[in-house]
């Protein structure tokens, strides 16, 4: 019990005195999360909006597959990306394995379906309200998709936040493709796993506190936004 409380106090010291190693790991985590969520949002939000507002032959199958992909096991995604980017893999020539770039790619594969499906759910309800109006005024597809995104902008903020939450706490995929290399690909989650196994509880706990705080702040923010948007006229939440 004493070891744990000592480690806890020591970890608070690392946070308060802005330990260089701790900071480096935190910044890399945030950088990878930022790019992964940015790419997922740029691709996933318009795709979700398009799917929600378009009817085509295999739409239900596509939507079912996408919803199924929301629960992709991260280690399987990690293995899949590893095989592609390993030296003998089809994209091995790019030399991206064990780099932050490939960690971002793995995270995009994990987050994209989440962003896309949550966007789909939000915009589908808006589409029910708007589609007859858009059709009667012959609004072009691109203009209507933009209108769906603009008009559900508040709700879509929570989608982005959900993506951030998923990304920042992910470990299975990025430890496989990133390799948890010190100063290069070590992020909060992989560092916690490593330092715990080494018995270095100070750093592991310090990172754990930061990660937990991030998750709490993000979820708190999502709840705050939901409460705020529920009071907004036209809310689809």
């Amino acid at each position: 019990m004493n070891d744990i409380s000592e480690a806890f106090v020591s970890s608070l010291g690392l946070i308060l005195f802005l330990d260089a190693e701790l900071l480096e790991i935190i910044l890399l985590s945030f950088r990878i999360t930022f790019y992964a969520v940015l790419i997922s949002s740029i691709l996933g939000i318009p795709l979700g909006a398009l799917l929600a507002s378009t009817h085509f032959k295999f739409r239900n199958s596509v939507v079912s597959i996408l919803f199924g992909m929301m629960g992709l096991p991260p280690v399987v995604v990690g293995l899949f990306v590893y095989l592609i980017f390993s030296r003998s893999g089809s994209l091995g020539w790019m030399g991206l394995l064990y780099s932050p770039t490939v960690m971002i790619i793995a995270q995009v594969i994990l987050i994209l379906p989440i962003v896309c499906c949550l966007t789909f759910q939000i915009i589908e309800s808006l589409h029910t309200r708007y589609h007859e109006f858009f059709r009667s005024y012959r609004i072009a597809k691109l203009k209507s998709v933009i209108a769906y995104i603009v008009d559900s902008r508040f709700e879509l903020t929570t989608v982005v936040l959900a993506g951030i939450g998923r990304s920042i706490s992910e470990v299975g995929a990025i430890i496989i493709v990133g390799g948890n290399i010190d100063h290069i690909t070590r992020v909060m989650t992989t560092a916690i796993a490593l330092e715990t196994s080494k018995g270095n509880l100070d750093l592991a706990l310090g990172l754990g506190i930061i990660l937990l705080a991030t998750a709490i702040v993000l979820n708190g923010f999502i709840l705050f936004l939901r409460g705020k948007y529920l009071k907004t006229p036209g809310s689809t939440i």
């Binding site: 309200r129 007859e132 059709r135 012959r138 209108a147 603009v150």
Partner: protein, 233 residues
């Protein structure tokens, strides 16, 4: 603009869904001006008929022609019973339906909002308007597209009386002379106030088509007589 010379021909129009016929083979020839009120009880098929005219529904058979050619969708504007309001300002709602926003159109938008009593609310979030104001906005938004035919599906069904009065007054004084209006209602008094001609629909069939005066003075069918006397709702 629709005029006295233009003619709307509805040829053998019908609409079926899941083996059920909601509109039976309808043949009508309508003048291209004035207000045609589609009258009938709830579930008679008025909205289906209107949506077929708008192009929102595809007929199972038959067609609608405007003069000699096919009716161009560009010349029609539809206002539904439930106002569809975008999550933006009143003015931006107006401008959204335009392909190109010119300074003339912006001025026209403001004029139309003024006519609808919404000039002081043009920068307000349109979703915060009252039900009547929303419907007035929808009507103004339809007019700014300069449609030849205006199709209104019970636009005053759920709104406050002053908005109903304003809309009716606007349609009679400003729109009737320059456009063809189809107006769906089951309010007989409203039909009396607005209609130049009546199309009476019962159980998915057009069973009467005559001038408003003839319809109310001398209804030909038993169903129309019952409806006018309030025995069918």
């Amino acid at each position: 603009m629709a005029s006295e010379d233009t003619q709307i021909n509805i040829n053998d129009l019908s609409f079926n869904i899941e083996g059920k016929t909601l509109l039976h083979n309808t043949n009508l020839s309508l003048n291209g001006d004035g207000i045609t009120v589609l009258l009938g009880a709830n579930g008679a098929g008025k909205t289906i008929f209107l949506k077929l005219l708008t192009g929102l529904l595809t007929p199972s058979s038959g067609s609608t022609t405007f003069q000699s050619g096919n009716l161009s969708i560009k010349t029609r504007a539809f206002v539904s019973q439930e106002p569809v309001i975008l999550r933006r300002t009143v003015l931006k709602n107006m401008l959204f339906v335009l392909e190109k926003i010119t300074s003339e159109k912006s001025t026209l938008a403001k004029e139309l909002l003024s006519l609808m009593g919404l000039d002081k609310k043009e920068h307000q979030n349109a979703l915060t308007l009252s039900a009547g104001e929303k419907q007035r906005l929808c009507l103004a938004r339809a007019i700014i597209t300069d449609p030849e035919i205006l199709l209104l599906d019970e636009p005053t069904a759920n709104i406050e009386p002053n908005s109903t009065t304003l809309i009716e007054k606007y349609l009679i004084q400003k729109v009737r002379s320059s456009r063809k209006i189809f107006f769906v209602t089951h309010d007989i008094n409203q039909a009396r106030r607005l209609a130049d001609e009546i199309v009476f629909i019962h159980n998915g069939r057009v069973i009467e088509h005559s001038s408003a005066e003839n319809f109310f003075e001398n209804p030909k069918t038993r169903e129309a007589r019952k409806y006018i006397s309030g025995k069918i709702n």
